[in-house]
């Protein structure tokens, strides 16, 4: 009998095996959602210069807003900023129900967040980076989007809304 061996209680060994299986199932579930259902996290989209992104005429964020690129398909260019006040530009957009909207959001100053309530759009907004996710709005209603990262004293009042008409 070897004097040095890993002594593992039978119950504990079974628990460890069970734990690995359970974690593998969780991993499988998120993989199905990500790769099977297209519920993905943001990918690098584009880098910008935060010092000029709001003013450079070639930058879409010098004229932020909603653009219809095909029937029922929109691109929304949104600028988040803390200066001169805490706001999104634009802070209100209207689309008909069933629309698919790609959000391209960047910051003119500090870090911000962007979360559209009751949807899977929820991401960081960083100066120098463009965050993009695409959401389809099936149900009519008002969807607030709110800032989710501390961006100074006005963080709590920074929000806007997407109005989905029937």
């Amino acid at each position: 009998m070897s004097t040095q061996s890993m002594h593992i209680d039978a119950y504990e060994r079974n628990w460890m095996i069970f734990g690995i299986v359970m974690l593998a199932l969780f991993a499988a579930a998120v993989s199905v959602a990500a790769f099977g259902m297209g519920i993905q996290v943001p990918a690098p989209e584009q880098r910008v210069d935060p010092r000029t992104v709001a003013t450079d005429p070639n930058s879409p964020w010098s004229n932020p807003g909603l653009r219809e690129i095909a029937p029922g398909k929109y691109d929304a260019y949104i600028l988040a900023r803390a200066i001169p006040k805490w706001e999104y530009l634009p802070n209100e957009m209207t689309v008909p129900a069933g629309s698919t909207v790609s959000f391209y959001v960047t910051s003119a100053d500090v870090q911000h967040g962007f979360k559209i309530q009751d949807t899977n759009a929820n991401f960081m907004v960083l100066p120098g980076q463009v965050s993009k996710l695409t959401i389809t709005f099936d149900k009519p209603g008002t969807y607030n989007f709110i800032c989710t990262e501390y961006c100074g004293s006005g963080h709590g009042v920074m929000y806007g809304a997407i109005i989905v008409t029937p």
Binding site: Y11, W15, A33, M37, I39, Q40, D118, N120, I135
Partner: protein, 45 residues
């Protein structure tokens, strides 16, 4: 040095297994609830 108690060899942590089973059920229920919220809200691509 550790002296083995006689009781040690007979000790079976059955209560531990029950506690962990309760934990696992709670974990799966809560995790699945949040996962279903995610699924219900649809794709992002």
């Amino acid at each position: 040095m550790t002296k083995k108690d006689k009781a040690d060899d007979e000790f079976r942590p059955t209560g531990t297994v029950v506690i962990l089973a309760i934990f696992v059920v709670t974990l799966i229920v809560i995790w699945a609830t949040i996962y279903m919220i995610l699924i219900g809200r649809g794709g992002t691509l």
